[in-house]
Amino acid sequence: MAIAVPQTTELDISQTIDWLKQKYPDAVHDDTRQGFGGVVVDKSMLVEVAQAIRDDLGFDYLSSATAVDYLGISDHMEMVYHAYRTTGGPALVFKAQTDREKAEIPSLVDVWLGADFQEREAYDLYGIQFSGHPNLKRILLWDGFNGYPMRKDWQEAYFEQEHKPFDSRWPGGWVHRAEEKNVYGKNVRYPDDIDLARLSDTSEATLYSGLGLGVDVQELESDGLQTDRLVVNLGPHHPSTHGVFRMIVSLNGETIETLEPVMGYLHRNHEKIGERNSFLHNIPFTDRLDYLSSMGNNFGYVLAVEQLLAQGARYQPPTYRAEVIRVLMAELTRIVNHLWSLGFLLNDLGAFFTPMLYANNEREKILDFFEATAGSRLMCNYMRFGGVFADLPERIHSVANLVNDKVRDYNTMEYLAQMITERLPRFLEEYGRLLVGNEILRERTINVGVLPHDLAIALSTCGPLLRGSGVAYDVRRADPYSIYPELDFDIPVGVNGDIYDRFMVRFQEIHESLRILKQLLPRLEQTKGEEVVTKVGHTPRVPVGEAYGRVENPKGELGFYVVSEGDEKGPQNPWRYHVRAPSFINLTALGPMCRGYKVADVVTVLGSIDIVLGETDR
């Protein structure tokens, strides 16, 4: 296992932009809107410029590609791209604008393969046609869906008002249930000519024909062996999919030829909800993305909004103690998440529940701490703009108030110290002995699901999946935030990019997190008594502009693209709220990783990506 620290090269983005403007004087212009940055690229030249950005400038990693609808402001639609260098440094932001009515932008799949799912999402939710995209069809919504829900003029079935808070709640808030208004069919608008019975049929057929397949079994001859080609649906309901997720696999005998992930069963249009919400409302909603690491989600979102708030007057950045607590929570979350994913990977391999429950035993203890501090085990809702919800409690303490309640009472700092310095290291050591040498595990994972180095970058994969392929790219080092620069830790990377390497990267990352946590304990003692509760009230006015906040979440790079627009004083609601979901984008690599392996490996490959459907489907 090679351990490497990526070089954080300070590169001057304005120089890069100047170079671009010189090379393409007609096509590249500064984005001069107040609070916005980067360049606007003429869409006819987009592919060429993108190629130069990748090849000449070395921005080999497309982190995020998303659309924004500026209806009522400048009445155009816009794709926003964030490209990075895998050697580290800030983003090069470039945008391409198009008309709303005939929205069309050239596809960048040929430049960065990782644009694939992200463009499909933009097509699905915004109706932007990506010319040149090889497989442009809906990804989160069902094929028969009418309209493009993220457009500003689209209204959902339960539509009540453009922005929260709703006027009907106060002062004349006589309650009614939204469902009552929605007697089946009312308030839901289907197009007039739609035949509901027909829809499921066609969509299913398109799906299969998209794979170049009929549903029937085909006889094949390979290596003198009589095999069948058949299409198998794994999921949507399958224990290996960790949720409602479906893979359509076409097999030659037992070997996988193509694999098409189908998702969106849990889609709730998180981003539309986010744009109806106020800035503050969104924090608990981010908990529901990757519900195994809600602290990390909170962190990413508040970082993005804090970037905007920092533009305004009278904003106090978080105190040092608040930062220490945030990092404490983020690293504990990483341990929680990796324990879970290691346990489940073993489950997927058939080691039913023993490794999983051992890992969960430790996880529970950390969740106890979350519960006592933030008030909830999973949906922590702990971070606030400019601070956190509350300081660590003096004691992890409970009071009996239901019948038969069992009471516990620990000193918080002692509890943490015991967990970090004794219990978790001891457990990890034992867990390593339990698993790492296990021959079955090794045979099922070594050289299976290989994702080569270059492909991993091109596909915009992130987190342990990317690092397992030998790319030492970790946002905590590549584009540091919070107090990470002063902390001492390494970035574990794999060599072969197979499942075993990903497994080991996660394992090592728990060790590294423990190393960070040990450094945090004295910092917590030193800063005792410092204020961590923010003075930003419940309706902060957020200055106009755009911000992209990203954190290294356990599952990979989690980014929030937030645009604040409109109101002079600064609006209360985000104009655009986009989540760059690591689970979703990592799935781009699922098909390429499975090709050529056996059908039984699909389950393990998926397990090694570590997805969570709350985040994939949003």
């Binding site: 709640r169 469902e179 519960e371 309640d405 004794e422 219990r423 040498g437 309706t539």
Partner: protein, 271 residues
């Protein structure tokens, strides 16, 4: 040698199995007697597996635990303001609620039509509530708090899951029992166990009283005769008022207790 890794792993699982029973034997019988044993077996020093037998046993939740909120009333037998509703229907909780599940009807004086502090109606749709805790965090009057009772399942979600004011209201005493530390912190921030506004009034009254005391103190000595005839006259109505206030309080207290009884009966009947 092939299989060594597997054998090593099996040895670990075996040890885990034994550990669990060793602990069970070590703590035999005492699990239910002493709280300390429970604490050790559930804490960071525990070994082996340990199951809490829900629903016969439950792990008590920490103070900050949050579940569907409740509204705070003064204690129903409070000597001065029995069952006083702490909410001023300012609407902040309804505004900060992310899924917008709080519905408040602001109270109105029937004669003047002017808003009055107490809400006329207050609803929370517990199906929609996401237990985020914002309402409790941002309420300026400590009038809404997150509850610890997580066993809210019922057989009919359509009719039973919109909680109204009586169902949501609990005594301040209850908050003191489920979150003693926080209740004290909040009390200190307010300056006393009473509602913030009451606290302010009290402070004002005290100031006034102090001022009054300071003022008459001088005249009494120079001009004692003139002040004395007025005194009984002033006292008599005050005594009357006191009687009235007492009766009112008694009635309020009875009403509050009756509400509580009715709710308990409904709950027991419904369960």
């Amino acid at each position: 040698m092939y299989g060594q890794g597997i054998a090593k792993g099996l040895w670990i699982t075996f040890k885990h199995l034994v550990n669990t029973y060793v602990d069970d034997i070590r703590y035999a019988g005492r699990k239910y007697v002493s709280q300390d044993n429970f604490q050790v077996r559930q804490g960071p020093k525990s070994q082996g597996a340990y199951t809490v037998q829900y629903p016969d046993e439950k792990i008590a939740v920490p103070e900050r635990f949050r579940f569907v909120p409740f509204r705070v009333d003064s204690d129903y037998d409070d000597p001065e303001r029995p069952g006083q509703d702490w909410c001023t229907s300012c609407g902040i909780c309804a505004k900060v609620c992310p899924p917008q599940c709080i519905w408040i009807v602001r109270g109105q004086d029937p004669n003047t039509g002017r808003p009055v502090p107490q809400p006329e109606a207050f609803f929370i749709d517990i199906d929609i509530c996401m237990n985020c805790g914002y309402c409790a965090e941002f309420c300026p009057f400590d009038a809404i708090k997150m509850d610890h009772d997580y066993e809210l399942a019922s057989y009919d979600r359509t009719s039973r899951h919109i909680y109204d004011k009586p169902k949501l209201s609990k005594e301040l005493r209850y908050w003191k029992t489920i979150a003693p530390t926080r209740a004290v912190e909040e009390m200190e921030a307010r300056g006393g166990w009473d509602h913030k506004d009451v606290q302010k009034e009290k402070a004002k009254a005290e100031k006034a009283a102090a001022a009054q005391k300071a003022a008459p103190a001088a005249p009494v000595q120079t001009n004692g005769g003139a002040a004395s005839p007025a005194a009984p006259a002033a006292e008599a109505p005050a005594a009357d008022d006191a009687e009235k206030i007492k009766a009112e309080r008694l009635a309020k207290r009875e009403a509050a207790l009756a509400r509580k009884r009715a709710r308990d009966a409904e709950e027991n009947g419904g369960a």
